[in-house]
């Protein structure tokens, strides 16, 4: 019988469908893996609700578990338990190397535009913090667009949610 550890290892091989440099485990969307009565249950916390990759992620998880000779059920959990704070340190490093600025941590209070317009955001290419917000929205729901004044390069900034 397959173990939860083996399932976690297999899931760690699934790349994010849109940002394939990081895995679903790095992304923190797998909340829990349990095994009961011979079936695997994966508790899955989606990122953005309108993300078209969510269905692909679920299909890939089922296929991976099938590859281990077991059957899985994916339970989708729609609450506030996924946050960009769940992205692993390793995942954040991989994002930066691929040119995506990782998300700053959640703050206790309300998220304010003035914070995003500030310059506490580091360019993933040259590491300068002399960057400005260009657009709150970007090519996918999870990203904003910033511009680096130092290396004159626009870059994608993961939103904090």
């Amino acid at each position: 019988m397959v173990t939860a550890h083996e399932v976690w290892e297999a899931l760690a091989e699934i790349p994010d469908p849109e940002i394939p440099v990081i895995s679903l485990v790095d992304l923190g969307v797998i909340k829990n893996v349990t095994i009961a009565d011979g079936r695997v249950r994966i508790d899955f916390t989606p990122t953005f609700m309108g993300c078209p990759a969510l269905e692909t992620m679920q299909r890939e998880m089922l296929a991976k578990v099938e590859g281990l000779g077991a059957e899985a059920d994916v339970r989708v959990i729609l609450d506030d338990s996924w946050s960009t704070d769940r992205i692993s340190p390793e995942g954040r490093k991989k994002l930066r190397l691929a040119g995506f600025a990782p998300p700053p941590p959640r703050t206790a209070g309300k998220l304010e535009l003035v914070q995003l317009q500030g310059n506490g955001f580091r360019c993933p290419y040259c590491s300068s913090t002399d960057t400005k917000l260009d657009n709150l929205f970007g090519p996918t729901p999870c990203r904003s667009i910033r511009y680096c004044n130092a290396c004159r390069q626009p870059f994608e900034q993961f939103k904090t949610i």
Binding site: G50, D79, D134, N135, P141
Partner: protein, 223 residues
């Protein structure tokens, strides 16, 4: 139909129809950043609608797609604010901001619901909506910063104000008034809300367009 299903459908229909309206700017917004912004906001709203329809569908024994696309216009529960077709920038910004402000008040209530599924989904939606609100408030402030912008925004907000009140239940309307007046630094009219359940003619036109591909396929087609 239970009160819970009714609530889920009201929320889902608001998000679906407004998502569709936002997507009408895709390709034709005044500049590229706004093309991207309204397209992304539309994608979020329709994602929220799908999750809410799925919860309602589980109760009704149907599917999210059937709820989204196979009802008659009279069966929709959206607020008339989201139905209006207003492809004019000041009106778009006024509607966007009024809706997002009302939605924040509504989600704030729902986050404390005793129903864990509703409380959970409201909390999750609210994280994404925070970006919509920042975008809407940024535009309101931008319009308020010039005489021309201020006058265009005033005309649009005054036209849409009775519709905005209709997004919320009676008891939440004073809070919407308080927040809107605070940002605009002026009083808004004492008017009756345009309630849910009454539809603008634009809704039927929207649904006709939105469902045209689905209706063209043989019944039972899988998407």
């Amino acid at each position: 139909m239970s009160d819970r299903t009714d609530l889920l459908l009201s929320l889902a229909d608001d998000e679906l129809v407004l998502g569709w309206r936002n997507s009408e700017w895709t390709g034709i917004a005044p500049f590229l950043e706004e093309d991207v912004a309204f397209s992304s906001i539309a994608q979020n709203e329709i994602g929220h609608a799908r999750a809410l329809y799925e919860l309602a569908a589980a109760e009704l024994g149907t599917t999210a797609d059937e709820l989204a696309f196979d009802r008659t216009p009279e069966e929709y529960r959206c607020a008339p604010l989201v139905e209006l077709r207003r492809l004019e920038w000041a009106r778009t910004i006024a509607r966007h901001w009024l809706y997002e402000t009302a939605d924040e008040i509504r989600l704030g209530e729902l986050k404390t619901s005793e129903d864990p599924e509703i409380a959970g989904i409201a909390a999750k939606m609210n994280r994404e909506e925070a970006y919509h609100r920042m975008h809407a408030e940024m535009w309101v402030d931008r319009l308020l910063s010039t005489d021309d912008g201020r006058s265009r925004l005033k005309e649009a907000v005054d036209e849409l104000w009775p519709y905005a009140l209709g997004v919320l239940d009676d008891e939440l309307r004073p809070e919407l008034r308080r927040r809107a007046e605070e940002r605009l630094e002026r009083k808004l009219a004492e008017v009756d809300a345009v309630p849910r359940g009454v539809h603008e003619s634009e809704l039927a036109e929207l649904l006709e367009e939105m469902t045209s591909v689905r209706r063209s396929a043989p019944p039972g087609s899988q998407w």
